[in-house]
Amino acid sequence: MINDKNSQKIVDIIQNFARQHSIWVLAYGTGCGAIEIPPTMTSRYDAERLGVRGAATPRQADVLLITGYLTTKTLKRVIRVYEQMQDPKYVIGFGSCTINGGMYWDSYNTIKALDRYMPVDVYINGCMPRPESVLSGFAKLQELIQAGKADGAKKYKENLEWYRTNQKKVIPNWHMPEYNW
């Protein structure tokens, strides 16, 4: 029954709807952006009405929210966390530091473009982005999920070699469990 094309379509619609409206966020609070998450979640902006909710561990999370600059030391952990998340998973880059390095453009240990190392589905720019922009970022992600275009995880899986080369360039001492989905 599942193999039938039409019913598969219906299942897909339902699943996409569920994925769209239930977004469990693992806020990886790097940099200064972490302070923008509490107002986003609490009474004033209330992200929970969009189905956005905090997840405590990567195993339960759908979205990895990277809130600011990433030093190479942190990048290693973030990659690790990303690989521990379960499919389907999405990444939101938050703040200009993740886009082009922001004010840390000449720092000796801060990466300047997150999407070289991880597949980013949505970028939210600004330094810092206000909660409104965070919410619009979530809305954009929902749009992408609905359209089936939020396929960062698939990209990561297919181009793992390329990502690994980039990652290993900035992280010389690579001792991590293999990621072989």
């Binding site: 561990t57 990567p58 195993r59 952990r77 973030v78 690790r80 966390v81 521990q84 469990p177 989905w181």
Partner: protein
């Protein structure tokens, strides 16, 4: 020649032959050891029937050995556990020293337990009792100098018990001029009141020591944990049950006839409950598996004592059923600890973790045993607990049932600690080479664990013999009364409810297990225990993140007011006080002749002064 003689000569002969064979060859000794127990078990169950008895006399004392249905319940424990433990110990003790000594004492303690069950007179009962004490004492101190202290504790308390029993026997003999237990039972209602009160107290002291009843339990944790694990399964599983065996006789024959017996029953029942609570709390605080299980044994015996003391037919039934179950699960658990000790060399929770994939069979058997210990359906422990609660509620023991329930709930804490400490947690590189224990050690555990499951689903298998035994003790048959009508165990063995519930449990479990397995089968993958979500940090190979220090610190902080007073310190205080007192008394014997002369003079003067009142 009577079969009972043959049984005892077979066992004694086997023991001596095993001891001698040790000098010849290790293999011969092992074979003889196992064969002795196997042969006597077969002989006991095929040739000796309920009601068999032999009369004989030694220098004019008429003695009688025989077996009744009540003794048979306990012979089930002794011989069953004996057979399992014998196979186990052959493998466990391999390569250790003084094995002739160990096997000899092992066999002697089995013989003496059988002797206790088969003695129909108080003299042979006492002799076998002492044999049991001494043989087990010799095994407790088998491990060398560092366990001397536990051995001394054990033998001191046992001696206290033995004196109490001896005194009681003399009292009985003085009054009835007979040493038969049967005569004592019949004569008891006609004893003077002082006898009626003191006899049970004396006997209960003797039996309470063996059953590790509060406040006579202080020897038990040390002695259980310090003897070799192969014997501890028998020690805790069967030998402690001899105390229960005696206790039940005391309660059935004596306490029933006490003028106003409620205080007596209540006191012992409460002692049992306090034993259960304190044993549980102390078990939670332990960091060594052997100590944990030892305290847990004390706690479990507390339930049984409560059941015995409450004394309604259902309570008695539950106490006997729990005795059998306790022998099974505690035997399994001690054997599992022994297996781990053999394979890794340690029994501390914080030293060894993550053995589940290395020792799967040990894990499965200890899992089943732990579920039974915790009293979770569908395993055997639940049936016993259920009957205990029912009986307590039906006999209006409000607070007692809560005390028992508290002990039983808190038991989950140490149950989890046991399983988690050894088998779960992160797999360590240090224990990568650990292999499953030898088949001879695993098989007995597995058999006993399976029996727990079988007895949990078909409790009638055990309840029927127990019911027969209780009829010997004067209870009317319990089949067909309220509790068997309850729907849980209707008509022993043909349960109405328990089996559907077991099917429901099994069915649901299987259904969801299959669901979990089939759903996304290809996309499910096993990851090592190092691959955990700890903020993206990868633990290095030598880093072990397992949580094993201070496991129940918050809980222990909450119960600490109860635990800070230890019984042992009272005994130590008592001992020091006695030492000081005798030290003071010693001054009387100054060694000076003139002082002694003054003593004699004073004595004569006192005699003269009170001549009239003393001799008049």
């Amino acid at each position: 020649m009577n079969m009972i003689y043959i049984l005892f000569s077979l066992m004694f002969g086997g023991a001596i032959l095993t001891f001698l064979a040790h000098k010849v060859s290790g293999l011969l000794r092992d074979i003889l050891f196992v064969l002795t127990i196997l042969a006597s078990t077969v002989l006991f169950y095929t040739k000796i029937h309920t009601g068999d008895a032999v009369d004989f006399s030694i220098s004019g004392l008429p003695l009688q050995w025989g077996i009744n249905a009540y003794g048979r319940i306990f012979s089930l424990i002794v011989l069953g556990l004996g057979v399992m433990a014998s196979f186990y110990s052959v493998s466990y003790m391999k390569g250790k020293e003084r094995l002739g000594y160990f096997y000899f004492n092992f066999l002697i303690s089995l013989i003496s337990m059988m002797g206790i069950l088969m003695s129909h007179d108080l003299v042979s009962f006492f002799i076998f009792w002492e044999m049991m004490t001494w043989s087990s004492y010799f095994i407790v101190i088998y491990n060398g100098k560092h366990v001397q202290r536990s051995g001394i504790n054990y033998i001191l308390f046992s001696a206290l018990g033995a004196y109490a029993m001896l005194m009681a026997i003399v009292m009985v003999y003085a009054h009835t001029q007979s040493l038969m237990i049967q005569d004592m039972m019949q004569a008891f209602p006609f004893f003077p009141v002082a006898y009626k009160v003191w006899l049970p107290i004396l006997f209960l002291t003797a039996f309470g020591v063996k059953a590790a009843m509060m406040p006579l339990h202080v020897w038990a944790p040390d002695a259980y944990s310090d003897s070799p694990m192969a014997y501890t399964s028998v020690f805790s599983g069967a030998l402690s049950k001899m105390g229960i065996y005696g206790m039940i006789i005391v309660f059935v024959t004596m306490v029933n006839y006490l003028p106003d017996d409620t205080w007596f029953r209540e006191t012992i029942a409460w002692l049992g409950a306090i034993t259960a609570i304190m044993g549980t709390l102390w078990a939670i605080a332990q960091d060594d598996a052997r100590k944990l299980l030892a305290w847990s044994s004390v706690a479990q015996l507390g339930y049984i004592i409560t059941g015995v003391a409450v004394g309604t037919p259902l309570a008695m039934l539950s106490a006997l059923f729990l005795s059998v179950m306790h022998a099974l699960f505690k035997g399994t658990l001690f054997m599992a600890v022994g297996a781990i000790e053999k394979q890794t060399g340690t029994t501390k929770f914080n030293e060894v973790t993550g053995l589940i994939r290395k020792m799967p069979w040990t894990f499965i058997s200890s899992l089943l045993a732990i579920i039974a210990l915790a009293g979770i359906p569908p395993l055997g422990g639940f049936v016993g607990k259920w009957m205990l609660y029912e009986s307590l509620i039906n006999s209006n023991h409000y607070i007692l049932v809560i005390a028992i329930f508290f002990a039983s709930t808190s038991a989950f804490l140490y149950c989890y600690k046991f399983l988690f400490g050894f088998f779960l947690g992160q797999e360590e590189k240090e224990w990568e080479q650990v292999k499953e224990a030898p088949a001879l050690m695993v098989l007995p555990m597995l058999i006993m664990a399976t029996l727990l499951l079988v007895f949990g689903v078909f409790p009638g298998i055990v309840l029927n013999p127990i019911d027969l035994g209780m009829q010997t003790l004067g209870f009317s048959t319990t089949a067909g009364t309220f509790w068997s009508m309850s729907g849980l165990f209707n008509e022993w063995g043909n349960q109405v409810m328990l089996q559907p519930l077991v099917y429901a449990i099994g069915g649901t479990f299987l259904f969801f297990l299959i669901l979990l397995t089939v759903k996304g089968f290809k996309e499910t993958r096993y990851v090592t225990t190092k691959d955990i979500s700890s903020s993206g940090e990868v633990p290095l190979e030598h880093e072990n993140l397992t949580f094993s220090e201070g496991f129940y610190q918050p809980f222990l902080r909450a119960v600490w007011p109860v635990m800070k007073r230890r019984m042992m310190s009272y005994y130590q205080g008592f001992g020091q006080g006695m030492e000081a007192f005798f030290d003071y008394l010693r001054r009387v014997y100054s060694g000076n002749g003139q002082t002694y002369a003054i003593y004699v003079l004073v004595f004569v003067v006192i005699l003269l002064l009170f001549k009239n009142s003393l001799f008049g």
